[in-house]
């Protein structure tokens, strides 16, 4: 499924030379005297797919929120798509990103409205919004449920809806926080394959949090491991388990 909105294609053979879309330098997040994140530095390049792993409470979700400009960092420098992330309002940049949260977020109404309303908010006409929303529902095999009320959806259907909505907004950066938690094992592989395809076709950058290392293996090239708010390991997802005893501890198999 291609984005309907034209974007400049870029050459992907050499990731190192790609434009950085997120640059975080020595980011820290403090809340009430406690450090939730400390000295986080990372770069996400255009089209790159980065995993974020770590035990509960390590700060993964907070880091995702900082990088997606939902929470300003307490210190450090953050640049997202050329924009300084220091707490100032960033409606334009936020519209280039999509987030799928751990807890599904829904609007009252039909399944279709859940995708079309955010599009209308972005200035699409009613007709365009409905059309695009429907196309993306179809992409995720939800078109038959288009006019059903949102509260009738199963966990797996809701998860697919979150993804459909996220992609319908044609983001340059996609943030996923445990997107497959409610998806059953058999449906996961085809869904991940679909995700890979959409990401590749549209050169979308990805930040993925998952407890399941297989998700990280399937969808990311590199992974960062957080522990107590610090980055304790990072590297190619494929070789990370071999490289780092800590990772093996967090993800026993």
């Amino acid at each position: 499924m291609n984005y309907m909105f034209e974007r400049k294609a870029t050459d992907f053979r050499d990731i190192e030379n790609q434009t950085p879309v997120i640059i975080a330098e020595d980011i820290s997040v403090r809340r009430n005297e406690r450090f939730i994140l400390r000295n986080i530095s990372l770069v996400l390049h255009q089209g790159e797919r980065l995993g974020l792993a770590g035990p509960n409470g390590s700060g993964k979700s907070t880091l995702l929120k900082v990088l997606s400009l939902l929470i300003p960092p307490s210190s450090g420098r953050l640049t997202v798509l050329g924009f300084m992330g220091d707490g100032r309002s960033s409606v334009t940049v936020r519209r280039k990103m999509s987030i799928v949260f751990q807890q599904p977020t829904t609007l009252t109404g039909s399944v279709l409205q859940n995708v079309s309303i955010p599009l209308r908010m972005r200035g699409l006409s009613a007709r365009e919004a409905t059309k695009r929303a429907y196309e993306w529902l179809k992409c995720f095999d939800l078109e038959k449920l288009a006019f059903q009320r949102i509260h009738t959806l199963s966990g797996g259907e809701l998860a697919r809806l979150q993804l459909a909505r996220a992609f319908a907004m044609e983001p340059e950066i996609l943030f996923l926080d445990e997107p497959f938690a409610a998806v059953d094992a058999t449906s996961r592989s085809p869904l991940k394959a679909l995700l890979r395809e959409i990401l590749a076709k549209n050169k979308v950058s990805l930040l993925l949090i998952s407890h399941d290392f297989r998700d990280l293996l399937d969808l990311t090239e590199r992974t960062l491991v957080l522990l107590d708010g610090h980055i304790v390991a990072q590297g190619k997802t494929q070789t990370l388990r071999i490289q780092s005893p800590l990772v093996r501890e967090i993800f026993p198999e």
């Binding site: 409606v91 519209r95 990103m97 987030i99 609007l107 009252t108 309303i117 009320r149």
Partner: protein, 232 residues
């Protein structure tokens, strides 16, 4: 028992023949309630959302004030409004005492706290759940408010039902600031009190049936709207 039976018979006779005085009283009550609800919603909705969503220092205090306002005894409030509006009072020059407008003012003061409190509670609750999501959609402040309002539609209707209920059943304040003047400020509730004090139980019962029917049908209608919205 005899009293009740005679009263019921008389009531149906009045209603059947369409007593013009009762009709006039009914229309006045409706007019007053409509204005009261309209004005309190116009004031209470935006204030309620603003308080529910914001995080400034005095917020909790203002919310407590609104909640306290809900429990304000209408008769006491009516007394204070009457004192202010009396010809010898501070706003006496406006000549509002003993007019329907005075009743509307009293009812607005009684209903606004209800609407603010209920809307603020709903807005605050929804905001907690949806704030990050709304931010991530890249909504500007106006869109944020609109979408939030859309999500609390059901609670807004509940607030309006509660407010309407209070307004239509108001009697103490309506008496004091309105004066229960025939043809001018006699509402369904004040008329009932009058008829009972005259011993005219059948008229009182007739009026009470009208009030019941009105209250029930309007509340049922708004509740129906709620269920339509609620099949989320």
């Amino acid at each position: 028992m005899e009293l009740i039976w005679e009263g019921l018979k008389g009531a149906f006779k009045f209603l059947f023949h369409g007593d013009p005085e009762i009709r006039e009283i009914t229309l006045l009550s409706l007019r007053i309630a409509a204005w009261a609800i309209g004005i309190s919603s116009a004031i209470g909705l935006p204030l309620g959302i603003a308080l529910g969503v914001s995080t400034f220092r005095g917020r909790d205090f203002l919310l407590t004030l609104a909640n306290t306002g809900m429990g304000l005894p209408p008769t006491v409030m009516g007394l204070w409004v009457a004192i202010v509006l009396w010809r010898t009072g501070p706003l006496g020059g406006l000549k509002l005492i003993y007019t329907p407008t005075a009743i509307i003012i009293a009812e607005v003061i009684l209903t606004v706290p209800i609407i603010i409190a209920l809307v603020a509670a709903a807005a605050s609750d929804k905001k907690a759940k949806l704030h990050d999501f709304f931010l991530s959609l890249g909504l500007n402040p106006l869109q944020y408010m609109w979408l939030l309002l859309r999500e609390i539609r059901s609670s807004v209707l509940t607030a309006i039902i509660a407010g309407f209920g209070r307004a239509i059943s108001e009697v103490g304040a309506a008496m004091m600031v309105g004066g229960n003047i025939a043809g001018e400020t006699r509402t369904l509730t004040t008329a009932i009190v009058l008829e009972v004090s005259k011993g005219e139980f059948d008229r009182a019962l007739a009026i009470s049936f009208v009030l019941l029917a009105l209250s029930f049908s309007i509340t049922a209608f708004i509740t129906h709207l709620q269920y339509q919205q609620n099949l989320k």
